[in-house]
Amino acid sequence: MTNYTELDHSIQARDLEVVRGGNRVLDAITLGIRPGIVTGLLGPSGSGKTTLMRSIVGVQIVAGGEVTVLGRPAGDPALRHRLGYVTQAPSVYADLSVRDNLEYFARVLGAPLARVDETVAAVGLAGHAEQVVRTLSGGERSRASLAVALLNDPEILVLDEPTVGLDPVLRADLWRQFHGLADRGKTVLVSTHVMDEAERCDELVLIREGRIVADGPPAELLARTDAENLEAAFLALAEGPA
């Protein structure tokens, strides 16, 4: 499908298949994701983005094929220190403060407690550290959840729609941070269904109905389809002949 060698990839899926309730949610997914760039997983809701991310993290029961992360099978215990995963719904304790949450997860991860203040600041919650999560706004909660994944500075970051509902200034700031992490050699995989975010990715994987429609840098996808914007390119790629 792509022309760079497998050795370059920190995440590799081959013929990945996931069946849920008799439905084929992912069908023959083969892809490679490189470190050092931000890869965007783009597709409509229900296309299989979350399932693909869960398969990479190793929390999804898969029906066939294989996924390797940093050369190990997805879900390998050795990867639990090296991968950060942020689910779409914020998974933090609503009845604890932001700081309590981060200190707990830092202890579980074995990350130094000094990282707590750093990550709180990195996601723009410095003024809310002592606030109970339940009293935060939706966007603040998802940033608290994002902070947990940054605690131990993992090599692989899998972020499921991390910027939904955030104000544009904050969104731009987080995207700068994702690129900053990529520049430091991390693998950053971000899902989105918003086209203007897709433009911020170095590499895009277009997914629809559990299949990969196309992949490549945004500019290349635009050139390939002769489309004016990514939305039109997506349409052309999804409907046109393969």
């Binding site: 993290v57 639990r80 609503a94 707990y104 074995g110 109970v132 947990v148």
Partner: protein, 244 residues
Amino acid sequence: MSPRATLATARRVLAQLVRDHRTLAMIVVVPPALIALLEWVFSEQPGRFARVGPPLVGMFPLIIMFLLTSIAMLRERTSGTLERLMSMPIAKLDLLLGYGLAFALVGAVQATVTATVAFWLLGLETAGPVWAVVLLAIGNALLGMSLGLFLSAFATSEFQAVQFMPAVIIPQLLLAGLFVPRDAMPAALERISDFLPFTYAFDGLVRVAADDIGGRLWLDVAVVTGCIVLALVLGATTLRRRTA
């Protein structure tokens, strides 16, 4: 397995309880208040409170910790925090033992307060040592906690979890001999009660209260301990790293 993750989990569970002032207040106020009510209810019938009171002191932590844990674990499952933890370097047993440690501590506080009110303020008397009643009560807190952890896997909503009270707890209390002694029950019910953990938790308390420290008490303690371990192991199998 890592003591660091176990202790961190215990600390986190306690922090959640401490922030919830009303729950905390109910944990320490409701059982002694119920014991006082019971004393009042039985005040016209001499001897009845003396018989039911002491074992009941030790049964509260079992019931309350069971309900608290099943709801806490259900929340952990439905809020996504369990899935997050399962993608992190924490052993399933670390998580379970962390819960165990936290709820044993809460159970100990509850049992101590309840025992203080019952045995000093209300003048309830036991033939056996009061500290042994408190000790068994802490064991019961652990039993309730481990059963709650395991059974939470069978509830998908808090509406279901609270109904474990009438579905799981009340039948066992009835069959354990709280109202009718087991040997006065129909033979079939007595046979069924042989297989229920509450029977041994209750019998141990009755024996300690009567200063009947002997073989049968150790059997009770052994069965309760076995049930705690079994429920923890079964509970661990319901924590899945991978889900559909």
